[in-house]
Symmetry: C2
Subunit: 397 residues, 2 copies
């Protein structure tokens, strides 16, 4: 069986080693320059850092306008304006999803992301079109990346009749996770909304991932209710709350009891750490044992032309958001976009140990904090043991 040797790399910045990859797995870690490359493909690691592939825990691949001509943003000021603006724009959009999300996926692979959770817009406006197109794309790229899909009721679940049925059809077609959105702010009936998504998830034995932008006391109250239902339904470890802006509205010490409950119920918190709104206190949450992951959210879509899918840049933005400058904090930012995502997405063979999937990145740098701040574009991305991108160029087409 042919294998690959990566010679002279530093796992997470530690002492240099040789890494042997066999059948898409890390098969051994050897003293540097000791691996025999006779029967193997040799990659000269040149003392670069070896990292596990980045985890994109929250994106909206189906919505992207990537690889299409620039389109001035035409959305109104509120979340509801943005939803209706996107409905107008994406319904019958002339460039098919495969020609937008496909190039974006290849771009994100070249940045080093090989694991994704993408929310898939399920609305009566376009029925199951996004679902079908994205399932086909997932199939196309399954030899390179793992994509978890969330059935996401962007336009409202209860407020738009027919959406629950569409969500169930999406799950029948192979979507993995049941989504929710602002049970109060968008769907206007928090308890019925939560009851419904927990009931669908229980029936499909799937996880739940809820977009929660609701602010302040409202959002905190909803998080408490999500915790109640997670507990009642025995769904420990199956629930993610995305954004959770409300957790940034209180002194962190006031949230210790709630954080302890989230930790106990293994509810993950996803934050993009945006600067214009309150955001969850990542340090406190992690210190109480709450798992935190991150994502790009929208990337060049009808909501905003922002975003580039680079999860190392996201780690830097998180550090900037909290004014982190210490090595341990910068390493925590890196942990959020790697191990935090892997835990939230239940990736069992993730990491740099023997037996882990050979989904890796080589990048120049002195150490992890340096890598997070430098974000070198000179990345070598390895998927299933093979180089699939180099220096920002996708090569596995």
């Amino acid at each position: 069986m042919s294998s690959t040797v990566i010679r002279n790399v530093r796992p997470l910045g530690r002492e240099a080693v040789d890494v042997v990859l066999t059948q898409g797995k890390i098969s051994s870690l050897l003293p540097v320059n000791s691996a025999d490359p006779a029967l193997a493909t040799l990659i000269d690691g040149q003392g670069q850092l070896l990292l596990p592939a980045l985890v994109e825990s929250h994106c909206h691949l189906d919505k992207t306008l990537w690889a299409t001509p620039w389109r001035p943003n035409s959305a109104g000021p509120t979340r509801n304006h943005r939803i209706s603006n996107e409905q107008r724009l994406l319904k019958d959009f002339k460039v098919p999803m495969a020609e937008r999300a496909g190039p974006l996926i290849e771009h994100c692979i070249a940045q080093g992301s090989l694991y994704y959770r993408s929310h898939l817009d399920v609305q009566t406006v376009w029925g199951l079109q996004h679902v079908k197109d994205m399932l086909a794309l997932r199939e196309k790229y399954k030899h390179l990346i793992d994509i978890q899909l969330v059935a996401f009721p962007q336009g409202g679940l209860l407020t738009v009749p027919g959406t629950v049925e569409l969500m169930e059809q999406a799950m029948d077609l192979g979507v993995d996770v049941v989504g929710g959105i602002d049970p109060a702010g968008i769907d206007l009936d928090p308890i019925r909304h939560l009851e419904k998504i927990f009931s669908v998830a229980t029936r499909y034995q799937s996880g739940i991932d809820i977009h929660l932008h609701d602010l302040g006391e409202m959002g905190r109250w909803e998080i408490e209710r999500i915790a109640d239902m997670t507990d009642d339904q025995g769904m420990q470890g199956q629930v993610m709350i995305s954004h959770a802006y409300a957790l940034g509205a209180f002194p962190p010490a006031d949230l210790h009891a709630l954080a302890d409950r989230l930790a106990e119920l293994q509810i993950s918190i996803m934050t993009c750490a945006p600067p214009h709104v309150t955001v969850p206190p990542v340090t406190m949450l992690r210190s109480r044992g709450v798992n935190v992951c991150s994502g790009s959210d929208g990337i060049r879509d009808a909501w905003s032309p922002m975003g580039n899918g680079d999860m190392l840049e996201r780690a830097m933005l998180m550090a900037l958001r909290f004014n982190w400058s210490k090595d341990e904090d910068l390493a925590a930012a890196f942990d959020v976009v790697t191990q935090g995502g892997a835990k939230a997405l239940h990736i069992s063979d993730y990491g740099l140990d023997v037996g882990c999937a050979a989904n890796l990145m080589l990048i120049p740098g002195e150490n992890l904090p340096d890598v997070v701040l430098n974000r070198s574009p000179k990345r070598t991305v390895i998927s299933r043991g093979k180089v699939v991108a180099k220096d920002g160029v996708f090569m596995a087409g």
Copy 2:
């Protein structure tokens, strides 16, 4: 006289033209593909955008640890801790400033910045060492870039006896601008502090640039006093307030009268748009006629390992800070790091018109908003009419 023709470039994203550069100036703008390259050096613009060089309006080149081995940040939590930590670290630092700030300057040039205002740390701890070292560096790079230097009393002006005299000696040696720092928060006597720096500036007929981190009501009150003294001393157009966090603590509409006063007195506001603190409301300020510029602040120094000197990234971070997504807002972010800086720094021959300095950047992109969000590393930087950097590599050594 030999000249240079840049063929087929789009000034700020507009219609393609040929641009002729002669004696370090833009000598003509011609219809695309009409310039005769017979006696000229030809640069094929390939339809890229042509931009004026970026303006770095607030940095601390003298403090950087750039190009030295990674050093975990060792500062305590407050501004005063960071000041004393830096004093310990930089005093007798074994790598001379030229070997840190020099490589950083070359890196920043390669990102497209050709105009700088750098605050120069004047403290009794190291006397005039920073001043002398930086004046030598300015001399070394004067054929490529313009650097304005500010005599900056980082450790306090009145609270540290001897600092005023050092500031005056710095001005005697050729430093351009009188600096100040938190007249209340650091120097503990706001009126005496302001009187002193206005008096030194008046004597040297120089401008003033005040670091103002003081928050909320305190900071706003200080900004009002700075306006008073600017008016009293007839220093319209000569004063910059850097950071001005306090302006972010109030509803923008409550600051209209103060903004109008800043506009009338031509006091510029410099903001790095950091996400962890209140920041000046850029859109409101600009709409009332206040000039706003931006800068990197510290770049890999004892304060923080953050920063990379890329002013296009700074424009993106500003857009992100305010959740801007409209073309006009993204163009405003670009304006802040170009024309806003040029106005604040009184660069008279700045821009893309005939007669302007040939200090330019070519960059791929569809239009200005795209350039701000994409921040392509494939930049061609032209200083005084000659290519000095390409694709991130400084070539004028």
